[in-house]
Symmetry: C2
Subunit: 339 residues, 2 copies
């Protein structure tokens, strides 16, 4: 068996990469939400000085990367690789955002699991001795996502109660071969899971079984219980999906209780801000992790976190062709200090 594997699905790092720095930029609605004070920057308007929402999203990625690089005390040229992806068709948000970096670039598509996927691959590449520094970055934009996945905003479409609100935001984590931590101690790459959900307005339900599968695999591979972690943090299942995850574990006789939370419930004041089931989008788990969770890890208010990015892997056309929503979840184990 490959030497760094543990169990059937997990990797335990021999040289755990440190999370050197993180940065997060978020939109106007996010600024008024629960984590408003944690972002490095919030937008004054959704265009961010650009002439389209898509260009605004690319600018967010670029500015978030530069902020993370600066907070890490390194320069752009220190980045051996950039791992990036987003929700726009052909991941255009990342490509235009990273176009001027002139650094080696590896494009990912993991839908809303992209932050965790980029940290998974970035951590392997740093642990493996292929890079001293890797940037992991993603973004989403409410207006661009609505236009692409649902209806133009001007149409004024009604959103069902199960719908989630795409976060306008970008998060970036810089991983490094050495440093003080927190560290990425392991990863569990997810499998595609499809339980037959066909409602694009109920993504949380579609993604919950993938989160359950990956968390289960991670716990089994390490032979640990959920309370090994201060927090198992999925994202972005929101209200409905996170309750399904709790229920699935409950049926196994496991209560996640206060050891579990979901990024989709943490960005907005759900009732007051009228976001229905909660938050979603690549930017959701990215800004929650990069702004809020990293702050708690650095302060010692959290010591061990399992960050489980979740993604719904359909496109609008596949649903009109009668397909259901395949989903995935990748888990990144983050610990404040090494055992």
């Amino acid at each position: 068996m490959a030497q760094k594997r543990i169990g059937n699905f997990s990797i335990k790092f021999q040289n755990p990469p440190t999370i050197l720095s993180t940065a997060a930029i978020a939109g106007t609605k996010e600024a008024e939400g629960r984590l408003g004070s944690y972002y490095d920057q919030t937008l004054r308007d959704e265009r961010y000085g650009e002439d389209s929402w898509e260009k605004a999203e690319s600018k967010m990625q670029k500015e978030t990367l530069m902020t993370a690089v600066s907070k890490g005390g390194i320069s752009l040229n220190d980045l051996d690789y950039i791992f990036a992806g987003d929700l726009l068709n052909q991941c255009a948000g990342s490509h235009y955002g990273m176009r001027e970096t002139s650094r080696p670039f590896l494009g990912l598509y993991g839908a809303c699991s992209t932050m965790a996927e980029s940290m998974t691959l970035g951590a392997m590449i740093v642990d493996g001795g292929y890079a001293d520094h890797a940037a992991c970055i993603t973004s989403s934009h409410f207006c661009g996502a609505e236009k692409q996945y649902r209806y133009p905003l001007e149409y004024g479409g009604q959103r069902p109660p199960t719908a989630q609100w795409t976060v306008t935001g970008s998060g970036c984590a810089i991983l490094a071969a050495s440093g003080e931590g927190p560290y990425i101690t392991g990863v569990t790459v997810g499998r595609i899971v499809d339980m037959g959900i066909t409602d694009a307005n109920n993504m949380g339900a579609a993604m919950a079984p993938a989160a359950y599968d990956t968390i289960n695999n991670h716990l089994a591979d390490h032979n640990i219980a959920p309370d090994y972690y201060d927090l198992i943090l999925t994202g972005d299942l929101a209200q409905i999906g996170s309750e399904i995850v709790r229920d699935m574990f409950h049926k196994d006789g496991i209560e996640l209780a206060e050891h579990y939370a979901d990024c989709g419930n943490m960005v907005f004041y759900q009732k007051e801000q009228d976001v229905h089931a909660g938050a979603s989008g690549c930017g959701c788990s990215a800004v929650v992790f990069c702004a809020y969770i990293m702050d708690k890890l650095k302060k010692g208010e959290l010591n061990k976190v399992l960050f489980v990015g979740t993604g719904a892997l359909m496109n609008p056309g596949s649903l009109t062709q009668g397909e259901s929503i395949p989903s995935i979840a990748h888990a990144v184990s983050i610990e404040r200090s090494l055992a």
Copy 2:
């Protein structure tokens, strides 16, 4: 500096992964092309028994994976990771194609560079001791690509002479930690390069500078001349792009001569099959490498190949917003035997 790096951009593997097996499935027009006899299977019609082109593409990926797994003498459960991506919005071709594998999945978006990108990451992950077996797979479908990127086929749009023809095909390579070779001895990850081309019907010209950049970086990092390789194989620049690459090196005083070819010129009989500038699509370099180049490597007719996947990273919407076409190229060094 990270231990496995060489020069500014390249990786030299300490445990070079073997390419255990490859498989390629291609469409009806490809069956009548130059490499018709090399494919493991060719389609009888573009639907492949499915009710949409997109479902046909997913089925091609699935069948190609299963063929490669079978040719490698392993089972699906031996795959530690699947790296996959395609051109469909949100990479849906890969997600539906790989949905039933139940193996850890990492989604990529590299446009037509995806075969090389997946082999790059797959090789790092195998060399690094994270996997014994990794599958690297991609696909494209002419009908689905035309519908998504240009016009519905029924529209009967005219194609300009610079346009390329998207290959209907899928290629898969299984990488393994041990075996007889050919081996992946190193990789050079590309940077995004954008020289301001805005014509989506002239992708070859847009991508050529990215190919030049990556090949240059690779040669400089290893301090070798192009004739180190029996073949430097870009894909899919086709007629116009490949001539630009030759010209760019010529200006540096370097003649690529017979050490250089492009996958976009190898799939079709260009004049007779009326494909204008040549072939393109994720499937282009995938089927050329997996069907033809691997055959030549196994027979010893080629010993050292630098496989340089090229991708154009725009989407149709970004072009209508006045953007140019950012491009990328990733180089994979493949040698028949280890020095």
